[in-house]
Protein backbone atom coordinates (compact mmCIF):
# COMPACT_ATOMS: atom_id res chain seq x y z
CA UNK A 1 0.00 0.00 0.00
CA UNK A 2 2.77 2.41 0.89
CA UNK A 3 4.46 1.66 -2.42
CA UNK A 4 1.34 2.61 -4.29
CA UNK A 5 0.98 5.77 -2.19
CA UNK A 6 4.49 6.85 -3.11
CA UNK A 7 3.92 6.38 -6.80
CA UNK A 8 0.63 8.24 -6.85
CA UNK A 9 2.01 11.14 -4.86
CA UNK A 10 4.95 11.42 -7.23
CA UNK A 11 2.55 11.28 -10.17
CA UNK A 12 0.69 14.11 -8.51
CA UNK A 13 3.89 16.07 -8.03
CA UNK A 14 4.90 15.44 -11.63
CA UNK A 15 1.46 16.59 -12.74
CA UNK A 16 1.81 19.75 -10.63
CA UNK A 17 5.20 20.42 -12.20
CA UNK A 18 3.82 20.02 -15.72
CA UNK A 19 0.93 22.38 -14.95
CA UNK A 20 3.30 24.94 -13.42
CA UNK A 21 5.54 24.80 -16.49
CA UNK A 22 2.52 25.17 -18.77
CA UNK A 23 1.49 28.30 -16.88
CA UNK A 24 5.00 29.70 -17.21
CA UNK A 25 5.16 28.80 -20.89
CA UNK A 26 2.06 30.92 -21.61
CA UNK A 27 3.69 34.05 -20.27
CA UNK A 28 4.28 36.98 -22.61
CA UNK A 29 7.97 37.84 -22.79
CA UNK A 30 9.79 40.79 -24.29
CA UNK A 31 13.18 41.19 -25.94
CA UNK A 32 16.05 42.16 -23.69
CA UNK A 33 16.94 45.07 -26.00
CA UNK A 34 13.59 46.63 -25.06
CA UNK A 35 13.44 45.74 -21.38
CA UNK A 36 17.10 46.59 -20.71
CA UNK A 37 16.60 49.98 -22.37
CA UNK A 38 13.73 50.61 -19.94
CA UNK A 39 15.88 49.66 -16.95
CA UNK A 40 18.63 52.02 -18.11
CA UNK A 41 16.11 54.78 -18.70
CA UNK A 42 14.74 54.38 -15.17
CA UNK A 43 18.24 54.64 -13.68
CA UNK A 44 19.14 57.70 -15.70
CA UNK A 45 15.80 59.35 -15.03
CA UNK A 46 16.16 58.97 -11.26
CA UNK A 47 19.87 59.64 -11.13
CA UNK A 48 19.59 63.18 -9.84
CA UNK A 49 17.36 62.19 -6.97
CA UNK A 50 19.69 59.42 -5.79
CA UNK A 51 21.71 60.93 -2.91
CA UNK A 52 24.19 58.06 -2.77
CA UNK A 53 25.24 58.80 -6.36
CA UNK A 54 25.10 62.56 -6.41
CA UNK A 55 26.13 63.12 -2.81
CA UNK A 56 24.52 65.59 -0.42
CA UNK A 57 25.82 68.89 0.86
CA UNK A 58 27.15 68.99 4.43
CA UNK A 59 24.49 71.44 5.51
CA UNK A 60 21.62 69.13 4.70
CA UNK A 61 23.32 65.96 5.92
CA UNK A 62 22.07 65.21 9.44
CA UNK A 63 24.73 62.55 9.90
CA UNK A 64 27.75 64.71 9.11
CA UNK A 65 29.71 65.63 12.21
CA UNK A 66 28.98 69.20 13.13
CA UNK A 67 31.96 71.47 13.47
CA UNK A 68 32.51 72.85 16.93
CA UNK A 69 31.12 76.32 17.64
CA UNK A 70 33.47 79.24 17.96
CA UNK A 71 32.49 81.76 20.59
CA UNK A 72 33.26 85.22 19.37
Amino acid sequence: MSGKMCSSSSILQAQKLVDQLQIEACMERFKISLTAADLVRYCQGHRRSDPLITGISSSSNPFKDKKTCVLL
Binding site: Q15, I23, C43, D50
Partner: protein
Protein backbone atom coordinates in the same frame (compact mmCIF):
# COMPACT_ATOMS: atom_id res chain seq x y z
CA UNK B 1 -17.54 8.57 -12.16
CA UNK B 2 -19.79 11.27 -10.79
CA UNK B 3 -19.17 10.19 -7.22
CA UNK B 4 -17.35 12.67 -5.09
CA UNK B 5 -13.85 11.29 -4.65
CA UNK B 6 -13.40 13.27 -1.44
CA UNK B 7 -16.61 12.30 0.29
CA UNK B 8 -16.14 11.34 3.91
CA UNK B 9 -12.39 11.94 3.82
CA UNK B 10 -10.32 12.14 6.93
CA UNK B 11 -7.90 14.98 7.46
CA UNK B 12 -4.77 14.46 9.41
CA UNK B 13 -1.95 16.92 9.86
CA UNK B 14 1.26 15.75 8.25
CA UNK B 15 4.77 16.45 9.44
CA UNK B 16 4.98 19.39 7.06
CA UNK B 17 2.72 22.35 6.90
CA UNK B 18 0.52 20.69 4.32
CA UNK B 19 -2.76 19.16 5.28
CA UNK B 20 -2.92 15.81 3.61
CA UNK B 21 -5.95 13.69 3.03
CA UNK B 22 -6.29 10.29 1.56
CA UNK B 23 -9.03 8.16 0.20
CA UNK B 24 -9.12 4.90 -1.59
CA UNK B 25 -10.37 5.49 -5.12
CA UNK B 26 -12.35 2.83 -6.91
CA UNK B 27 -11.12 1.85 -9.48
CA UNK B 28 -8.10 1.76 -9.50
CA UNK B 29 -7.44 1.18 -5.83
CA UNK B 30 -4.89 3.90 -5.12
CA UNK B 31 -4.31 6.32 -2.30
CA UNK B 32 -4.04 9.89 -3.48
CA UNK B 33 -2.06 12.23 -1.31
CA UNK B 34 -3.00 15.83 -1.86
CA UNK B 35 -1.18 18.80 -0.47
CA UNK B 36 -2.94 22.03 0.06
CA UNK B 37 -5.12 23.96 2.41
CA UNK B 38 -8.83 23.59 2.89
CA UNK B 39 -10.21 27.02 3.65
CA UNK B 40 -13.44 25.78 5.16
CA UNK B 41 -12.93 22.89 7.49
CA UNK B 42 -9.81 24.03 9.32
CA UNK B 43 -10.90 27.10 11.17
CA UNK B 44 -8.03 29.34 12.22
CA UNK B 45 -4.76 28.32 10.67
CA UNK B 46 -4.71 25.54 8.09
CA UNK B 47 -0.96 25.68 8.04
CA UNK B 48 -0.79 23.88 11.36
CA UNK B 49 -3.99 21.86 11.39
CA UNK B 50 -4.88 19.95 14.54
CA UNK B 51 -4.63 16.20 14.50
CA UNK B 52 -7.82 14.27 14.21
CA UNK B 53 -10.49 13.68 11.68
CA UNK B 54 -12.95 16.00 10.14
CA UNK B 55 -15.44 15.27 7.44
CA UNK B 56 -16.52 17.93 5.03
CA UNK B 57 -18.55 18.59 1.97
CA UNK B 58 -16.70 18.77 -1.33
CA UNK B 59 -18.52 21.98 -2.22
CA UNK B 60 -16.66 23.83 0.50
CA UNK B 61 -13.16 22.77 -0.43
CA UNK B 62 -10.50 25.25 -1.22
CA UNK B 63 -10.31 25.31 -4.99
CA UNK B 64 -6.78 24.05 -5.39
CA UNK B 65 -7.43 20.98 -3.28
CA UNK B 66 -10.36 19.97 -5.50
CA UNK B 67 -8.49 20.69 -8.69
CA UNK B 68 -5.45 18.68 -7.66
CA UNK B 69 -7.42 15.61 -6.72
CA UNK B 70 -9.50 15.88 -9.89
CA UNK B 71 -6.36 16.18 -11.94
CA UNK B 72 -4.85 13.17 -10.28
CA UNK B 73 -8.08 11.33 -10.90
CA UNK B 74 -8.15 12.39 -14.54
CA UNK B 75 -4.48 11.73 -14.93
CA UNK B 76 -4.92 8.23 -13.70
CA UNK B 77 -7.90 7.84 -15.99
CA UNK B 78 -5.85 8.86 -19.00
CA UNK B 79 -3.26 6.29 -18.09
CA UNK B 80 -0.58 8.90 -17.51
CA UNK B 81 2.50 7.38 -16.07
CA UNK B 82 5.25 9.00 -14.11
CA UNK B 83 7.52 8.57 -17.09
CA UNK B 84 5.21 10.34 -19.54
CA UNK B 85 4.75 13.27 -17.15
CA UNK B 86 8.49 13.55 -16.61
CA UNK B 87 8.98 13.57 -20.37
CA UNK B 88 6.39 16.30 -20.75
CA UNK B 89 8.00 18.46 -18.08
CA UNK B 90 11.40 18.01 -19.76
CA UNK B 91 9.90 19.12 -23.08
CA UNK B 92 8.26 22.14 -21.47
CA UNK B 93 11.52 23.12 -19.76
CA UNK B 94 13.39 22.92 -23.05
CA UNK B 95 10.69 24.98 -24.77
CA UNK B 96 10.91 27.63 -22.02
CA UNK B 97 14.68 27.86 -22.43
CA UNK B 98 14.28 28.24 -26.18
CA UNK B 99 11.71 31.00 -25.79
CA UNK B 100 13.93 32.85 -23.33
CA UNK B 101 16.93 32.40 -25.60
CA UNK B 102 15.13 33.90 -28.61
CA UNK B 103 14.64 37.14 -26.74
CA UNK B 104 18.27 37.51 -25.71
CA UNK B 105 19.25 39.75 -28.60
CA UNK B 106 21.61 41.83 -26.48
CA UNK B 107 23.21 41.84 -23.00
CA UNK B 108 22.36 44.42 -20.32
CA UNK B 109 25.91 45.72 -20.03
CA UNK B 110 26.00 46.28 -23.79
CA UNK B 111 22.87 48.43 -23.63
CA UNK B 112 24.54 50.29 -20.76
CA UNK B 113 27.80 50.96 -22.59
CA UNK B 114 26.89 54.55 -23.39
CA UNK B 115 25.95 55.31 -19.80
CA UNK B 116 28.64 57.23 -17.94
CA UNK B 117 30.43 55.41 -15.13
CA UNK B 118 29.47 56.07 -11.54
CA UNK B 119 31.77 58.54 -9.80
CA UNK B 120 33.84 57.08 -6.99
CA UNK B 121 31.69 56.80 -3.89
CA UNK B 122 32.84 58.32 -0.63
CA UNK B 123 30.47 56.50 1.68
CA UNK B 124 31.61 56.44 5.30
CA UNK B 125 30.24 54.99 8.49
CA UNK B 126 28.57 57.84 10.35
CA UNK B 127 26.89 55.97 13.19
CA UNK B 128 27.55 52.71 14.99
CA UNK B 129 24.53 51.36 16.87
CA UNK B 130 25.65 49.31 19.85
CA UNK B 131 23.31 47.60 22.23
CA UNK B 132 22.52 44.11 21.08
CA UNK B 133 24.09 41.35 23.13
CA UNK B 134 24.52 39.00 20.24
CA UNK B 135 24.49 38.75 16.41
CA UNK B 136 22.18 41.23 14.71
CA UNK B 137 20.20 39.21 12.18
CA UNK B 138 17.85 41.66 10.56
CA UNK B 139 16.83 45.30 10.39
CA UNK B 140 14.29 47.51 8.69
CA UNK B 141 13.91 51.27 8.25
CA UNK B 142 10.83 53.20 9.27
CA UNK B 143 9.20 55.36 6.59
CA UNK B 144 10.16 58.45 8.60
CA UNK B 145 13.75 57.82 7.38
CA UNK B 146 15.30 58.10 10.81
CA UNK B 147 13.99 55.25 12.90
CA UNK B 148 14.91 51.66 12.39
CA UNK B 149 14.14 48.33 14.02
CA UNK B 150 16.68 45.55 14.48
CA UNK B 151 16.46 41.99 15.78
CA UNK B 152 19.09 39.74 17.22
CA UNK B 153 20.11 36.25 18.25
CA UNK B 154 19.81 37.47 21.84
CA UNK B 155 16.02 37.41 21.48
CA UNK B 156 15.70 41.20 21.57
CA UNK B 157 14.17 43.61 19.09
CA UNK B 158 15.27 47.24 19.42
CA UNK B 159 13.75 50.34 17.84
CA UNK B 160 16.43 53.04 17.35
CA UNK B 161 16.54 56.67 16.34
CA UNK B 162 19.45 56.55 13.91
CA UNK B 163 20.21 60.28 14.20
CA UNK B 164 20.56 60.41 17.99
CA UNK B 165 21.43 56.74 18.61
CA UNK B 166 18.61 56.72 21.14
CA UNK B 167 17.05 53.33 21.83
CA UNK B 168 13.35 54.08 21.80
CA UNK B 169 11.88 50.66 22.50
CA UNK B 170 13.16 47.25 23.51
CA UNK B 171 11.09 44.13 22.98
CA UNK B 172 12.06 40.80 24.49
CA UNK B 173 10.93 37.65 22.73
CA UNK B 174 10.84 34.27 24.45
CA UNK B 175 13.03 32.71 21.77
CA UNK B 176 16.53 33.32 20.50
CA UNK B 177 17.36 33.92 16.82
CA UNK B 178 14.83 36.56 15.87
CA UNK B 179 15.54 36.31 12.15
CA UNK B 180 12.93 38.66 10.80
CA UNK B 181 11.75 42.13 11.68
CA UNK B 182 9.82 44.78 9.82
CA UNK B 183 8.48 48.25 10.48
CA UNK B 184 4.80 48.89 9.79
CA UNK B 185 4.07 51.52 7.10
CA UNK B 186 2.41 53.77 9.68
CA UNK B 187 5.45 53.63 11.93
CA UNK B 188 3.19 52.61 14.81
CA UNK B 189 4.12 48.94 15.06
CA UNK B 190 6.83 46.43 14.27
CA UNK B 191 6.64 42.76 13.34
CA UNK B 192 9.22 40.18 14.41
CA UNK B 193 9.68 36.44 14.37
CA UNK B 194 12.18 33.63 14.19
CA UNK B 195 12.79 30.36 15.96
CA UNK B 196 9.45 30.61 17.76
CA UNK B 197 7.84 29.69 14.40
CA UNK B 198 5.66 32.75 14.75
CA UNK B 199 5.60 36.30 13.54
CA UNK B 200 4.24 38.74 16.10
CA UNK B 201 3.14 42.33 15.74
CA UNK B 202 4.02 44.76 18.53
CA UNK B 203 2.27 48.16 18.63
CA UNK B 204 4.73 50.90 19.63
CA UNK B 205 3.67 53.27 22.31
CA UNK B 206 4.61 56.92 22.67
CA UNK B 207 4.68 56.38 26.43
CA UNK B 208 8.23 55.35 27.29
CA UNK B 209 7.15 53.75 30.52
CA UNK B 210 4.78 51.37 28.89
CA UNK B 211 5.95 47.81 28.50
CA UNK B 212 5.59 47.18 24.76
CA UNK B 213 6.50 43.51 25.08
CA UNK B 214 3.24 42.92 26.94
CA UNK B 215 1.22 44.10 23.93
CA UNK B 216 2.88 41.65 21.56
CA UNK B 217 0.35 39.74 19.47
CA UNK B 218 1.02 36.53 17.54
CA UNK B 219 -0.19 36.81 13.97
CA UNK B 220 1.55 34.24 11.81
CA UNK B 221 1.95 30.57 12.72
CA UNK B 222 4.30 28.37 10.74
CA UNK B 223 5.56 24.87 11.39
CA UNK B 224 9.19 25.94 11.19
CA UNK B 225 11.23 29.10 11.76
CA UNK B 226 10.12 32.42 10.29
CA UNK B 227 12.89 33.74 8.03
CA UNK B 228 11.36 36.94 6.69
CA UNK B 229 8.39 39.22 7.17
CA UNK B 230 6.98 42.32 5.54
CA UNK B 231 3.84 44.40 5.93
CA UNK B 232 1.94 44.99 2.71
CA UNK B 233 0.74 48.51 1.86
CA UNK B 234 -1.00 48.84 5.20
CA UNK B 235 -0.54 47.79 8.81
CA UNK B 236 -3.35 45.29 8.29
CA UNK B 237 -1.65 42.53 6.36
CA UNK B 238 1.59 40.70 6.93
CA UNK B 239 3.54 38.51 4.52
CA UNK B 240 5.89 35.89 5.98
CA UNK B 241 8.42 33.38 4.68
CA UNK B 242 9.38 30.27 6.59
CA UNK B 243 11.72 27.34 6.96
CA UNK B 244 8.66 25.16 6.37
CA UNK B 245 9.00 25.94 2.65
CA UNK B 246 5.98 28.22 2.37
CA UNK B 247 5.15 31.90 2.34
CA UNK B 248 1.89 33.14 3.79
CA UNK B 249 -0.26 36.26 3.87
CA UNK B 250 -1.99 37.03 7.18
CA UNK B 251 -4.64 39.41 8.45
CA UNK B 252 -3.01 41.16 11.40
CA UNK B 253 -6.20 41.90 13.32
CA UNK B 254 -7.65 38.37 13.33
CA UNK B 255 -4.51 36.31 12.72
CA UNK B 256 -6.32 34.61 9.87
CA UNK B 257 -4.40 33.04 7.03
CA UNK B 258 -5.49 34.85 3.86
CA UNK B 259 -3.34 33.04 1.32
CA UNK B 260 -0.53 30.53 1.37
CA UNK B 261 2.13 30.11 -1.28
CA UNK B 262 3.41 26.60 -1.99
CA UNK B 263 6.08 25.78 -4.52
CA UNK B 264 9.48 25.97 -2.89
CA UNK B 265 10.92 22.55 -2.12
CA UNK B 266 13.08 23.70 0.78
CA UNK B 267 13.31 26.51 3.37
CA UNK B 268 12.29 29.93 2.09
CA UNK B 269 14.85 32.44 3.34
CA UNK B 270 13.69 35.78 2.03
CA UNK B 271 10.84 37.67 0.45
CA UNK B 272 10.24 41.13 -0.98
CA UNK B 273 7.04 42.86 -2.07
CA UNK B 274 6.85 44.57 -5.44
CA UNK B 275 6.80 48.38 -5.25
CA UNK B 276 3.13 49.25 -4.82
CA UNK B 277 2.65 50.83 -8.24
CA UNK B 278 3.40 47.60 -10.04
CA UNK B 279 0.68 45.46 -8.57
CA UNK B 280 0.17 42.55 -6.26
CA UNK B 281 3.22 40.37 -6.59
CA UNK B 282 6.16 39.42 -4.43
CA UNK B 283 9.37 37.47 -4.92
CA UNK B 284 10.83 34.81 -2.62
CA UNK B 285 14.14 32.93 -2.54
CA UNK B 286 15.22 29.84 -0.67
CA UNK B 287 17.40 26.84 -0.04
CA UNK B 288 16.08 25.12 -3.16
CA UNK B 289 18.21 27.70 -5.08
CA UNK B 290 15.08 29.07 -6.73
CA UNK B 291 13.66 32.57 -6.83
CA UNK B 292 9.89 32.53 -7.35
CA UNK B 293 7.55 35.38 -8.23
CA UNK B 294 4.02 35.02 -6.83
CA UNK B 295 0.59 36.54 -7.45
CA UNK B 296 -0.61 37.59 -4.00
CA UNK B 297 -4.30 37.21 -4.77
CA UNK B 298 -4.35 33.78 -6.37
CA UNK B 299 -1.37 32.22 -4.59
CA UNK B 300 -0.04 31.20 -7.99
CA UNK B 301 3.67 30.98 -8.74
CA UNK B 302 3.94 33.03 -11.95
CA UNK B 303 7.68 32.99 -12.66
CA UNK B 304 10.61 30.95 -11.43
CA UNK B 305 14.40 31.37 -11.78
CA UNK B 306 16.92 28.66 -10.93
CA UNK B 307 20.26 30.20 -11.91
CA UNK B 308 21.93 30.17 -8.51
CA UNK B 309 24.16 27.29 -7.46
CA UNK B 310 23.42 27.50 -3.76
CA UNK B 311 20.92 28.85 -1.20
CA UNK B 312 19.40 32.21 -2.05
CA UNK B 313 19.68 34.31 1.13
CA UNK B 314 17.99 37.49 -0.01
CA UNK B 315 15.82 38.84 -2.82
CA UNK B 316 15.00 42.50 -3.51
CA UNK B 317 12.97 44.27 -6.17
CA UNK B 318 14.48 46.92 -8.42
CA UNK B 319 12.78 50.29 -7.68
CA UNK B 320 10.72 50.22 -10.89
CA UNK B 321 9.35 46.77 -10.10
CA UNK B 322 10.40 45.33 -13.48
CA UNK B 323 13.39 43.43 -12.13
CA UNK B 324 14.85 42.03 -8.94
CA UNK B 325 18.21 41.01 -7.48
CA UNK B 326 19.25 38.05 -5.36
CA UNK B 327 22.16 37.23 -3.04
CA UNK B 328 23.37 33.68 -2.60
CA UNK B 329 25.79 31.40 -0.77
CA UNK B 330 27.39 30.74 -4.16
CA UNK B 331 29.20 34.10 -3.70
CA UNK B 332 27.28 35.80 -6.51
CA UNK B 333 24.47 38.28 -6.72
CA UNK B 334 22.25 38.13 -9.76
CA UNK B 335 19.87 40.48 -11.53
CA UNK B 336 16.71 39.23 -13.23
CA UNK B 337 14.56 41.06 -15.76
CA UNK B 338 10.92 40.09 -15.11
CA UNK B 339 9.56 41.13 -18.51
CA UNK B 340 12.22 39.24 -20.44
CA UNK B 341 11.83 36.44 -17.88
CA UNK B 342 15.53 35.75 -17.44
CA UNK B 343 18.70 36.50 -15.51
CA UNK B 344 20.46 39.46 -17.15
CA UNK B 345 23.50 40.04 -14.95
CA UNK B 346 25.76 38.18 -12.51
CA UNK B 347 27.76 40.21 -10.01
CA UNK B 348 30.83 38.19 -9.12
CA UNK B 349 34.61 38.31 -8.86
CA UNK B 350 37.20 35.57 -8.49
CA UNK B 351 38.36 37.27 -5.31
CA UNK B 352 34.89 37.05 -3.75
CA UNK B 353 34.50 33.54 -2.38
CA UNK B 354 32.19 34.07 0.57
CA UNK B 355 28.44 33.92 0.36
CA UNK B 356 26.35 37.06 -0.06
CA UNK B 357 23.69 37.43 2.62
CA UNK B 358 21.73 40.53 1.67
CA UNK B 359 21.16 43.03 -1.16
CA UNK B 360 19.46 46.37 -1.61
CA UNK B 361 19.29 48.96 -4.39
CA UNK B 362 20.03 52.66 -4.15
CA UNK B 363 17.07 54.95 -4.92
CA UNK B 364 17.65 55.12 -8.68
CA UNK B 365 18.48 51.43 -8.93
CA UNK B 366 21.95 52.14 -10.29
CA UNK B 367 23.83 50.80 -7.28
CA UNK B 368 23.42 47.41 -5.63
CA UNK B 369 24.71 47.13 -2.08
CA UNK B 370 25.51 43.55 -1.12
CA UNK B 371 26.57 42.30 2.30
CA UNK B 372 28.87 39.28 2.45
CA UNK B 373 30.04 36.66 4.93
CA UNK B 374 33.61 37.99 4.60
CA UNK B 375 32.52 41.02 6.65
CA UNK B 376 32.44 43.42 3.66
CA UNK B 377 29.80 45.20 1.62
CA UNK B 378 30.43 45.30 -2.12
CA UNK B 379 28.78 48.04 -4.12
CA UNK B 380 27.95 46.96 -7.70
CA UNK B 381 27.07 49.02 -10.76
CA UNK B 382 23.79 47.31 -11.65
CA UNK B 383 23.88 48.28 -15.34
CA UNK B 384 27.53 47.70 -16.17
CA UNK B 385 28.05 44.69 -13.92
CA UNK B 386 31.25 46.05 -12.37
CA UNK B 387 32.12 46.64 -8.73
CA UNK B 388 32.16 50.31 -7.77
CA UNK B 389 33.35 50.16 -4.19
CA UNK B 390 33.95 48.00 -1.11
CA UNK B 391 32.82 49.10 2.34
CA UNK B 392 34.76 47.84 5.36
CA UNK B 393 34.10 48.22 9.03
CA UNK B 394 32.18 45.27 10.33
CA UNK B 395 34.04 42.70 12.38
CA UNK B 396 31.90 39.76 11.45
CA UNK B 397 29.44 38.64 8.77
CA UNK B 398 27.12 41.26 7.37
CA UNK B 399 23.61 39.84 7.78
CA UNK B 400 21.47 42.60 6.27
CA UNK B 401 21.85 45.80 4.26
CA UNK B 402 19.07 48.31 3.72
CA UNK B 403 19.02 51.70 2.03
CA UNK B 404 16.94 54.29 3.90
CA UNK B 405 13.56 55.29 2.37
CA UNK B 406 14.92 58.64 1.15
CA UNK B 407 18.02 56.98 -0.29
CA UNK B 408 20.46 59.02 1.76
CA UNK B 409 21.88 56.33 4.01
CA UNK B 410 22.76 52.65 4.10
CA UNK B 411 22.25 50.63 7.26
CA UNK B 412 24.11 47.35 7.68
CA UNK B 413 23.50 44.78 10.42
CA UNK B 414 26.18 42.31 11.42
CA UNK B 415 27.11 39.29 13.49
CA UNK B 416 29.54 41.65 15.29
CA UNK B 417 26.49 42.72 17.36
CA UNK B 418 26.36 46.20 15.82
CA UNK B 419 24.54 48.11 13.10
CA UNK B 420 26.27 50.77 11.05
CA UNK B 421 24.66 53.69 9.27
CA UNK B 422 26.75 54.94 6.36
CA UNK B 423 26.39 58.01 4.17
CA UNK B 424 28.28 60.07 1.65
Amino acid sequence: MSQDPLEGCRISAGKKSAVSLGKALHPPNLLVVVEGTCGACVAASPVSAPEGSCSYNVAHHHLCVCVRVCMAWQGLQKGETLASLKQESENLRRKLEEERGKLTDVELHQVAEKVETVAALSIKTRRVLKGHGNKVLSMDWCKDKRRLVSSSQDGKVIVWDAFTLNKEHGITLPCTWVMACAYAPSGCAVACGGLDNKCSVVPLSLDRNENVTAKKKSVAMHTNYVSGCSFTNSDMQLLTSSGDGTCALWDVESGQLLQSFHGHTADVLSLDLAPSETGNTFVSGGCDMKANVWDMRSGQNIQSFDNHQSDINCVKYYPSGDAFASASDDATCRFYDLRADREVAVYQKDSIIFGASSVDFSLSGRLLFAGYNDYTINVWDVLKGTRVSVLFGHENRVSRVRVSPDGTALCSASWDNTLRVSRT
